[in-house]
Symmetry: C2
């Protein structure tokens, strides 16, 4: 279940798999922007109808040129638009009239340039919304479908590296970057069926491409480059679909360093920064976030082999002890389990090669490559008896010759087939043709051993993430839950609202008179803290309007009088609701729960440890609301200071289950009240020892 809005479902099929197309602004010169795609379409494998539109010529590149799209005979699924910016609105209006399914708009000079351009772009958006025509761009490098050779792009990369269908689909906001990404991918043998650049996103956004890829049967892996999205729920929906389809999403979201740069009003908000919310979303849907193109392509390459393990136990085979140690280092840093081989197998392998390392890394030494049957025996032992989920092997130049590669592939064929789910990544230095032979046999080849291990780790990330499933859905909002009102909320009310939604708060009472304070003390029944409640008094402690450890009813009545007097003295005009008495919570660990209202993604729940962890280390994590109990548990375990909650240096373990429930309930409350608040802080929220629950000690709700 999700409560966020799905994106409109107007499939991109006519854009990405058209049967009849036209180039508007077609040029006779195949080097020009309006000539290049026509040249590709006329001279490639594209089997659909191809038309040209050019008001000034009767033929272009040997085909009839029509003066307008309206003159083109028959149905047109998709058009390429390469006309000056000022003509684009008219062109698209005519396309819509013609019933064209989708337009790829190369033209620049829109929102990226000036006010006039922004106005034109707004008109395009309106035409699309009104008529249903789908628009890619403007200011984009286009798209392609490698299966049909529909090359709707003026990028020359597809000339240098002809497109080849494969399981990967690429979506990039940036044209130049997308073109670079395709080039480097093609060079490395990463095969992409679909490639889309979205440019200014007047209509089609990156999220919709992801959603379409998630549904497309010929897409196995989704690679995305984005600088940011405008439609947060759309992206969430798209990633949820990809996750449900068990399709790995590799996402390069740039702009990390902008995070936290914006000043923010509330405490929680100042710790967020838009980038942290992307991280939250990616964690929720098992997305692999990468920081470089190279990492993106390493993982895409590994995905291409189709092997996705269900666990994170890594077997390391090496012909160099040193490389083995390095790979074990990298594996540990990536969170993989470099579990040792079973003792009996270690003894068996030691018999085969007396000076081998047999624990894991398994060091077969360079000599083993002289006797392939040994490698077979070692690999069989590692997979059949070691039970590894993935294997990385360092063979360097030694396995880089055609002769050795043929023997090795043959020797290991049965094991490779038997463990189809296990990624087998080989660190080998070899010429391209040998690399391709290994790849065709089901191996991933990455020259650098550290990158080989990291690719295996990414596959384990996807495999285990899909294996665990989405987990429990968020519960419904309790019927008795109060909502966020359309006005200032004082602390007493904030506590009552949150408690009503299932976020436990320490016992408290509001007292407007000394007598009520005494009664409240007795009702709570123990030491209390007392504090003025007023929207106009900010520095409560400094003026004596806060008391701790109030130990009797009489003391409470006395304190009430003094606090009210101090408040009236320092803030004669303040609106005062009364004095709140709250239970002094002892023991447990201080944490901070909060919610920010992200302009793109809506409410995002924050969790962190209190004190120095938040103040000095910024050790917090986020999730987009709402989420279920399993997600809350994963969230809690992401913080660096998790040992504080598990019980450190003789302290008891905390009630992490109750904390997870509180986070879930807070997320459900936040989602139900989306748009009505700008932030929520429960700081501190004490997590008591196991079985004793949590208690929010202070609460703040800032309405929108």
């Amino acid at each position: 279940m999700t409560t966020h809005a799905p994106i409109a479902r107007r499939p991109l099929t006519r854009l990405l798999d058209p049967r009849s197309v036209a180039v508007i602004g077609a040029s006779d010169n195949p080097a020009r922007i309006g000539g290049r795609p026509l040249h590709y379409l006329l001279n490639g494998r594209f089997e659909g109808e191809v038309h040209a539109v050019n008001a000034n010529r009767s033929t272009v590149q040997g085909v009839t040129a029509y003066p307008s799209i309206l003159e083109v005979p028959g149905e047109v699924d998709a058009v390429i638009v390469a006309v000056p910016a000022h003509s684009v609105v008219q062109t698209i209006t005519e396309c819509a009239e013609k019933g064209v399914g989708a337009a790829v708009i190369f033209s620049s000079g829109f929102a990226e340039q000036d006010e006039q351009g922004a106005a034109w772009q707004a008109e395009l958006t309106a035409i699309s919304a009104r008529t249903g025509i789908r628009l890619l761009g403007p200011n984009c490098l286009g798209a392609f479908n490698a299966r049909t050779d529909w090359l709707a792009t003026f990028s020359t990369s597809v000339e240098q590296y002809p497109v080849q269908p494969g399981p990967i689909a690429i979506a990039s906001q940036s044209g130049a970057f997308g073109s670079h990404l395709y080039t480097v991918a093609a060079k490395r043998g990463v095969r992409c069926t679909y490639w889309v650049t979205t440019g200014n996103e007047s209509d089609i956004e990156i999220s919709e491409c992801i959603a379409w890829y998630a549904d497309a049967p010929d897409v196995g892996v989704i690679a995305v480059y984005a600088e940011g999205v405008r439609n947060g729920p759309g992206l969430r929906d798209a990633l949820e679909r990809a996750y449900a389809a068990n399709k790995p999403v590799i996402f390069q979201k740039v702009g990390r360093s902008g995070a936290g740069a914006e000043a923010a009003a509330s405490h929680t908000a100042s710790l967020a920064g838009a980038d942290a919310v992307y991280d939250a979303l990616f964690r929720q849907y098992g997305v692999c976030r990468v920081d470089s193109i190279e990492e993106l392509l390493d993982i895409a390459l590994a995905c291409q082999s189709g092997a996705m393990p269900r666990g994170n136990k890594l077997g390391i085979m090496t012909i160099s002890g040193g490389a083995g140690v390095q790979m074990a280092d990298t594996a540990e840093a990536c969170g993989l389990d470099v579990a040792p081989m079973p003792a009996d197998q270690q003894a068996y392998l030691k018999e085969l090669i007396p000076f081998a390392g047999v624990r894991n890394p398994v060091d077969i030494t360079a000599q083993a490559l002289n006797d392939m049957s040994l490698i077979g025996k070692f690999m069989r032992s590692m997979m059949d008896e070691g039970g590894y989920d993935a294997v990385v092997a360092f063979f360097t130049v030694v396995a880089g010759s055609r002769m050795i590669s043929e023997k090795l592939i043959e020797t290991l064929r049965d094991i490779r087939e038997k463990y189809a789910h296990a990624p087998m990544v080989l660190s080998i230095v070899a010429p391209d043709d040998v690399v391709r032979a290994y790849e065709e046999a089901g191996y991933t080849i990455l020259e650098d051993p550290a990158r080989a291990v990291r690719a295996a780790a990414a596959m384990a990330h996807f495999g285990t993430s899909f294996e665990r499933g989405a987990g429990a859905a968020p519960p419904s909002l309790p019927p008795a839950a109060m909502g966020v009102p359309d006005r200032t909320v004082d602390e007493d009310e904030a506590r009552r609202i949150l408690a009503s939604a299932g976020v436990p708060m320490a016992a408290s009472r509001l007292a407007t008179t000394p007598g009520e304070a005494a009664e409240a003390w007795s009702a709570i029944g123990g030491p209390v803290a007392m504090k003025i409640v007023s929207p106009d008094i900010l520095h409560k402690t400094e003026i004596g309007a806060v008391r701790l450890d109030v130990n009797s009813a009489a003391e409470a009545a006395q304190a009430h009088s003094e606090i009210m007097a101090a408040a009236r003295h320092h803030y004669p005009d303040a609106r005062i609701t009364g004095v709140i008495l709250s239970e002094m919570v002892t023991g447990g660990v201080e944490t901070v729960l909060g919610v920010i209202s992200d302009p793109v993604f809506g409410p995002a729940v924050m969790f962190g440890l209190g004190g120095v962890f938040v103040e000095v280390l910024g050790d917090v994590t986020f999730r987009i609301a709402p989420f279920g109990i399993d997600e809350a548990h994963r969230m809690i375990r992401e913080i660096r200071g998790i040992r504080m909650l598990e019980g450190v240096r003789g302290q008891p373990a905390c009630d992490i289950d109750a904390l997870a429930r509180a986070l879930v309930n807070l997320s459900v409350f936040a989602a139900a009240n989306a748009g009505r608040f700008s932030s929520i802080d429960i700081n501190p929220c004490i997590v008591l020892p196991e079985g004793q629950g949590v208690a929010g000690v202070d609460a703040l709700i800032v309405p929108s």
Copy 2:
């Protein structure tokens, strides 16, 4: 000044630059281990004399074979030994007798194999020590000198990729790894004059190679692979020499994940782990530690251009906005300063290209590559007026053709020459010959933009590290400093010893009677803590042998009686020195100072923040003793929680100068007492507000 022992200076010149050589165990078959180097030497450019030794033949590969090295005429600088393990001791004995300078021992079957091999290896070490003959290996892949074509290796990598002299020198303990490293380096155009694999290190250790490279005029950059060293002071000396010579050292030390695995007696030691000490050493001498071969070679390649900046201001030029953002992210993550262009230059550039990004990243857009003069103007503005220390430019395939590369190199020639210290790293996708052309013109080419930025960051690391210099030398030990005695040290004595060495401790007194306790209270003059002093009582608090906040002389006398009674009751046989009274220090921030005694590197000083920072986060840093005040300041600023000392949330800034002095004094004391203690803890050590110093509150010295 350093107090550690330098390594013996028996230069490796005859090993690495011999004029006359012999192959012992020379084979007629150039594919065999004893035949391959002979083949290389006879058929390559090596101009020295080449002899063969083989008792069973009169000629080998067409040259005279002598029955023994003793029969070879004339002086022999270096020999290659390819005989079975059991003959090696005899062979080396004869070599020493002949006066051979150095032997490269390929043979395996020594300490890596069994007891017998270890015994043979010990004999080799003894022969070298006695006679002065230098030994490389056994169980190594040899060495080469690319300038003279002295190819003393049986690795086939030098056949596939002929050696080419250049500024890089490689030292690797592992043969297979070293061979892989050379292969990948050569493939990428990283030119190495020297390459040495040290194998079992019966004599020549990796440290000595580094030291020799540091002194060699034809070495500019030192690349090292090691699993660990036995001679810590030797490595320190070598790195110090390289640092003094301003030669970048790129070091891949594997085995990180083994860190902390060993159980350790003291608190400080349990936080160390040998790997942290390597990190400490590397930081002290500006070494760039890498975790992968690829990173090592990226940096070596960047070093090869010879440009080393003196600051860390990075200018980013791009033809894709998206790539610019990504590079800025990576730059910030690497600690580079992506400072904006001056406002007037931004205006000037905006005039040149209206839709350019002009702040930094400077986005010239893809069109700019059509007009080279524009790129020249932009680059001139960035260097002359922006004042960047380094530039990274993303040109992708667009600058990958020979035509564009020639124009671009020509256009930028004057700027490239004018700013010789500024690394200019280009992210370009191009064929090898175009890459070489850019490299010859002084650019570093790395296809991936993230790697391009990281390479620039490494250069800035080296440049700024050399620029700052070694900093203040450690001071002398104060004349009045006490030493660590050869017996158990109680807390009172530990405090006095450390205070005498210049590590400030809170005021304290030992009292053996209630009367002395009263006097001690008056002398300290304020609230004190009291604690039993006994080597036999471990759980002092639990038995009531600790009191806090003792507020008067009378209370102190009473507490003394009670503590002594409690101690005698629970530990009737304990040796009791008395009761220590110490000043209750209020305010300030808790830190932990400590020293471990590393078996390889000797005393290493630890610093961290107290409480959760150490307990939960392990936020500590190390330096090898002794060190000066600048190093202490750098050390303090490495911890994640540094803001605690700088004053957070309204707290005053702490006396970081006094803390740095305490660390320096502790390091000098530790170095002077090396070998006499196993660990020292000052936990907590309170750092008071600025100008008020530090005060150690508890002290523990564990003698060896």
